[in-house]
């Protein structure tokens, strides 16, 4: 997915890597025997050097095994001597050399599996943190400024301001981004700080594993010695009693030791099902910050920032179109941008509104479904049956009005998440039984009469467009 930005400076990169490897080799040679160097490092090449990590290609897995087990200290010394600070070292197989930088993320992930996160040393990254998720790359708008400010405060002075920090909001609104930004900020700023980032699901799994292999002591030691504990998607703790208890004690230990805890969830703590009260009250102890869906200006800003980062050029209209039509979810917004951009670069066609609309058909439909309101339905149905909008809520009930009203109720039930009561209220304070009756009636007539089925499916599709 990084095709756009990386191919540009690929060749320059290659040459730089070769030179860097030569310098590293020179620093490495005196530290190990000539035979060992020839045996283990003469077939190795450097393919990528980043701020925090370097990637080496090795002919096969024995190289990685032997270098990791035996020559890591020497290699780190050489890295410090040539680059000034340490880097985490990644390995990849021989197939991904040269121009295929596009697959780098994939291979790095693959390599991360067999090679455990042993890199818990200064200079290496915290396992599980995506280096792209920083405060710099976070777009602040009115929807998330409190959460952002609180996170920044926490990152600047862990355990002094808000402890615990509890961030919640819907999917794709930046919870994980903020948490990881805190982790990386603290990590970069202070040496010898133990940052642990994980999802609550992983916490539970490790806990179960620890029980199974009876090394609870090790498990506890790992988490209770953290300086900063970031737990994502804490709502999954709901209903897991033993894990909750374990987490409760971890929480207390850290809190009493003045260590920062940051939690995220997709709903407020009090609404997490089957979560013990003592945990709920603790989660609400510090600061609770909500992330809301971004407004249009923020969405535009996000799109521009993303496009910039990926070096994509798009017409202003396309940005506008995307920002207007995709409202609920930043992740989806990025996906749409990516899709549009890749289409533009692959086909070379000009992007018109129609093209973009066609391209994002499924996303837009999904979005549309979520934003339909009862009022829209009423208006659309009234228009179609040629009755007044006021008739939708009035007390009158001749057949010419009652049936369209029933259809509108049925559609409101199908297309919105409103409850029967809410729908009844929206239709002039009617009883929920009335709404239920309307839904049943319309459903029955749909199965019996073709023309009614057609009418309703027409209104349905026109609403969702």
């Amino acid at each position: 997915m990084w095709r756009f930005c990386n191919t540009v400076n690929n060749f320059g990169m290659d040459k730089k890597c070769v030179q860097l490897w030569q310098r590293l080799s020179a620093a490495l040679k005196p530290q190990i025997s000539a035979d060992s160097f020839k045996r283990w490092f003469s077939n190795v090449a450097l393919v990528e050097a980043k701020e925090k990590s370097i990637t080496l290609t090795v002919p096969n897995n024995i190289y990685q095994l032997w270098i990791e087990s035996n020559y890591m200290p020497a290699l780190q010394n050489a890295i410090i001597a040539t680059l000034g600070s340490s880097r985490s070292v990644k390995f990849c197989g021989p197939s991904t050399t040269g121009a295929q930088t596009s697959s780098e993320d994939v291979t790095a992930d693959k390599q991360a599996l067999p090679a455990p996160p042993v890199d818990i040393r200064p200079g290496a990254t915290v396992p599980g943190l995506n280096p792209r998720n920083t405060f710099e790359s976070f777009v602040v708008g009115p929807n998330n400024e409190i959460a952002h400010a609180a996170s920044l405060a926490v990152a600047q002075a862990p355990a002094r301001t808000y402890n615990p920090l509890f961030v919640y909001g819907g999917v794709g609104l930046g919870k994980t981004h903020l948490m990881q930004a805190i982790g990386q900020f603290v990590w970069a700023k202070r040496k010898n700080v133990k940052v642990i980032y994980l999802s609550s699901e992983l916490f539970i799994n490790e806990f179960i594993d620890a029980i199974q292999h009876s090394n609870l002591v090790k498990f506890r030691k790992r988490y209770r010695q953290a300086d900063l504990l970031l737990i994502d998607d804490i709502q999954f703790l709901g209903g897991k009693e033993r894990s909750q208890e374990e987490f409760f004690h971890t929480f207390n230990t850290l809190f009493d030791g003045h260590k920062q805890i940051v939690l995220s969830s997709d709903r407020p703590a009090s609404e997490i099902a089957n979560l013990e009260h003592r945990l709920v009250s603790r989660f609400e102890w510090g600061l609770t910050a909500e992330l809301q869906p971004p407004d249009i200006e923020t969405r535009l800003a996000i799109l521009r920032k993303k496009a910039n980062a990926m070096q994509i050029r798009l017409h202003e209209d396309v940005f506008q179109f995307l920002a207007t039509r995709i409202r609920t979810n930043v992740r989806r917004l990025e996906g749409a941008l990516m899709r549009v951009a890749s289409f533009a670069s692959l086909s070379g066609k000009e992007l018109t509104k129609e093209v973009v609309e066609h391209l994002l058909k499924d996303i837009l439909q999904e979005e549309g479904r979520q934003s339909i309101t009862i009022e829209q339905i009423q208006r659309r149905v009234a228009e179609h049956f040629d009755v007044r909008l006021a008739d939708m809520t009035s007390k009158r009930r001749p057949a010419s009005i009652a049936f369209p009203r029933q259809v509108a109720m049925y559609l409101a039930r199908e297309l919105t998440k409103a409850s029967l009561n809410e729908i009844g209220d929206a239709f002039g304070g009617r009883d929920h039984g009335t709404v239920l009756h309307a839904c049943k009636l319309v459903k029955k007539r749909i199965t019996e009469q073709d023309n009614i089925r057609q009418t309703i499916s027409y209104i349905d599709s026109s609403l969702q467009r």
Partner: protein
């Protein structure tokens, strides 16, 4: 099912199979032992779905049949029984009555059809080797198996069938043990298999010094048939690292050492190897080897051995545990230690095809 059996025989058979039974298991049936009685014999089977063991025990069978009973519990009962004659009678509801002398036990079991069957080896490649050879080979290598679960391909012993040899290899990244067994087999049987640690451990317990073992390999499984007992195991999937890359080139110095003396000296000196660096230093001078260790603020140890050494004087440090492991496993009186220089790996060799590569530690002084 009804049979009578002597305590010793049943206990022996149970001992062979009960180690496979895991104490913490998700399926209750896996903590049971499958008992199958035919005319003259009683078969006992246990499995944890990865490794399965089947043992045989002579019995006087009155009524053939099969059931499963909680393995650990039955083992504890049989061990404590007062008389050497045991009668077992299992009713149609899998309740077993165990009688011996004045004792009577009733144990509730589970039906046999719930017990997962051991895999079939139809059309498998089969080779036969001497039990003693395999036992020796495993003893010489298995201690070097990695316990790091993230490197799962190393959590076992590699069996490499090639050029009429079986090469056994185990490594954890800091040392590597390799042994070879000469064996005739058709070219079509050449393959590399990784046998998981648990199967290796169990196999080592079952193998004896006499008789043959029939090895069958088929689709991800391996079976070791020891005539009376059978061990079946899943293989570890994946490619074992190319171990030949690790073996150093020609040695500069070769030292002949009395294995036991060297081992004892190492053991004594290592008592003062510090927890942190955990290394002992070998200082070679003419016809002499000094083994030293020291821990700051604790003390130091030194032991001298007379060795036939004519080469240049130098020092090399090793992890004492890693150096002692092969010395314990070998039975030969003399071993050779091949060295190149202080930063290159050392190699322990004997007269037969075996070698052990050990990485040196940095000498910090």
């Amino acid at each position: 099912m009804k049979f009578s059996v002597t305590k010793e025989k049943l206990l022996e058979a149970l001992q062979q199979v009960q180690n496979v039974v895991s104490t913490r298991t998700t399926l209750p049936i896996l903590s049971n032992v499958l008992l199958q009685a035919n005319e003259t014999e009683l078969h006992l089977t246990t499995t944890d779905l990865d490794v399965g063991v089947r043992g045989t025990c002579e019995a006087h069978v009155d009524k053939a049949g099969a059931t499963t009973l909680p393995a650990r519990r039955v083992f504890n009962i049989i061990r404590e029984l007062p008389s050497s004659e045991i009668q077992v009678d299992v009713d149609g509801k899998n309740a077993a009555s165990i009688r011996s002398g004045q004792s009577f036990f009733k144990i509730l079991g589970l039906p046999e059809d719930e017990f997962p069957p051991l895999p079939k080896f139809e059309g498998a490649k089969v080779v036969t080797m001497r039990q003693k050879d395999l036992r020796d080979g495993l003893r010489k290598t298995s201690y070097a198996i990695s316990t790091d679960e993230t490197r799962y391909v190393l959590n076992g012993v590699l069996f490499s069938f090639k050029d009429n040899k079986v090469t056994l290899v185990a490594t954890d990244g800091r040392r590597l043990a390799m042994a070879e067994i000469e064996l005739e087999f058709p070219r079509s049987h050449e393959s590399d298999l990784i046998i998981p640690t648990k199967a290796v451990t169990e196999l080592q317990r079952l193998l004896t010094d006499d008789g043959d073992v029939k090895v069958s390999m088929a689709n991800g499984q391996i079976a070791f048939d020891l005539n009376k007992t059978l061990l079946v195991s899943k293989l570890i999937e994946g490619n074992y690292p190319n171990y030949r890359q690790v073996i150093p080139g020609e040695a500069k110095e070769r030292v002949k050492l009395e294995r036991e003396m060297f081992l004892n000296s190492l053991r004594r000196v290592s008592l003062l190897a510090s927890d942190k660096s955990h290394s002992v230093k070998l200082n070679f001078t003419k016809n002499n080897l000094d083994i030293t260790a020291n821990t700051p603020e604790v003390g130091e140890a030194k032991e001298s051995l007379a060795v036939p050494y004519k080469g240049r004087e130098f020092s090399i440090a090793f992890n004492p545990e890693f150096l002692m492991a092969p010395l314990r496993a070998l039975t030969e009186d003399e071993v050779f230690l091949d060295l190149i220089d202080e930063m290159s790996p050392g190699v322990v060799k004997i007269q037969t095809p075996f070698l052990y590569v050990i990485m040196p530690m940095r000498i910090s002084s």
